[in-house]
Amino acid sequence: MTRAEIRDLIIEIIKDIDDEAQFDDVSPDEPLRDQLDLDSMDFLDIVMELRKRHKLQIPEEDYPQLATLNSCVNYLEPLLHNA
């Protein structure tokens, strides 16, 4: 997957979790939690969707790496390069 595709994947997953999520003004380096009003239950959903869709195993200690859109892409890029 390219970086752009990973970014779209994250956006698609978050929109599935919360159909009201608006990405137009989301800054890629600011925490998604604050910008989209997400909480820890939502982040667990993101992790579980990645596992379901791409068989990714993300350990709990790595959850903080999913904080911003860019950090998500950075973290997932090596894991999804064959996807």
Partner: protein, 464 residues
Amino acid sequence: MGAPHIVIGGGLSGLAAAIRLARFGEPVVIIEQHNRLGGLNSYYTRNGRLYETGLHAISNFAPRKQRHAPLNKLLKQLQLSRDDLSICEQLRSEIHFPGTEPLLFSNDFSLLRDTIDDVFPHALAGFDRLVQRLDHHDPFAPAPFTATREILSSFLNDQQLIEMLLCPLLFYGSSWQDDIDFNQFTILFRAIYQDGFFRPAGTIKDLLDLLTETLIERGATIITGTGVEHLRVVDDRVESVILENGEELDCNIVISTIGSDETRRLAGKNIDKTDIVRLSFFESIFTVDSTGKTAVSKDATCIFFCRQNRLRYRKPNTPVDLKSGVISLPDNFSGREAGTMRDVRITHLANYQQWFDARAASASSYDDLKAAYARKSARVAEAYVGSFFEAITYQDSFTPLTVQRYTGKIEGAVYGSPNKHTDGACGFANMFLAGTDQGYLGIIGAMLSGVLMVNRHILPKLAK
């Protein structure tokens, strides 16, 4: 694929846990001993009419825009649409004590505050400070049992007001006698006074059908009509679940919603604290023909009453304690159309042992006792809802024995053991509690309990 996760108990907490697991493609089997799902909140039909068991009103009402409110959070976690619930809000509810005007509350918190201002003007400032304190209190932070009455006395300079405010919260969620843990009080105060009541426009069957369809769509296996006979345990692991029909199911992680002692029993463990008091109730349903000379209230949704100044919320020494209770009028929700037949449900505290003894004596003495208390209960309730006794067309009563038979709760204790396990741990490496004995109460609370225990104990630990 490996062995499935197993959810024991097809009540609302179990259904929510199973839906949550199935959402992420996890194999899951949910087991309900009865032919019908729902547990404490189920239904039956008589004379072509559907009667709900358990449900009076669902607390934790929240408008759609409150994204983090428990109701909306729950729907999001289960990926259910709010529109499928067809929510009807309560009209208003009442708290009656002797010698004083009733307190009123609705889904608009200012109604409660306004009636306190009318009835207990000297206590209003203290009430406002109490609400402030509650707003800043985190009831989910682990804490030892803290008595609520003592805290209330430091804010409210009127004992009658304290009793009145406690009455609905104890009746709708306390497994403790007389007092309640301050964390539980805070949760219930929010759920009942600050959020309020609603119910589905139809019946509880609509909600159960929605949850069942969702489970089937997501590939879960539902087993009904056979309970768990025992759990095969090696060291501290549940290796398999043996059903009453003899089938043996291998399991990954088990979520048990049937209660902590009830679960330990299935695992062949001793139950140590047999001296704990479990609270149970006696409930009667009356269907009333409202075309005649009856005057059943069309304004009140729930009426909480006590016929003495001090509320005694404890196991009575008589089969039923008629001195206090809750009257539920399920037709009095906004947007619900009452037909000519209206239901009146009345609930009182009851004594399990006395019903057990009556039943042991003979079937007829048990039936006579039931009929006698239903009659007395109706007469007591008429003082609050208006006369209806002469217009009753159908009636039925549930005793603690009925509840025990249909829900498996020891002594028919609908709010479970007074000892809660908020982390869900019950002494096994791969089995966790959800539902009543985990400690979140009410329909929304029970369902959130199922979700949270799955989130905490299963999802983060799944292998690839």
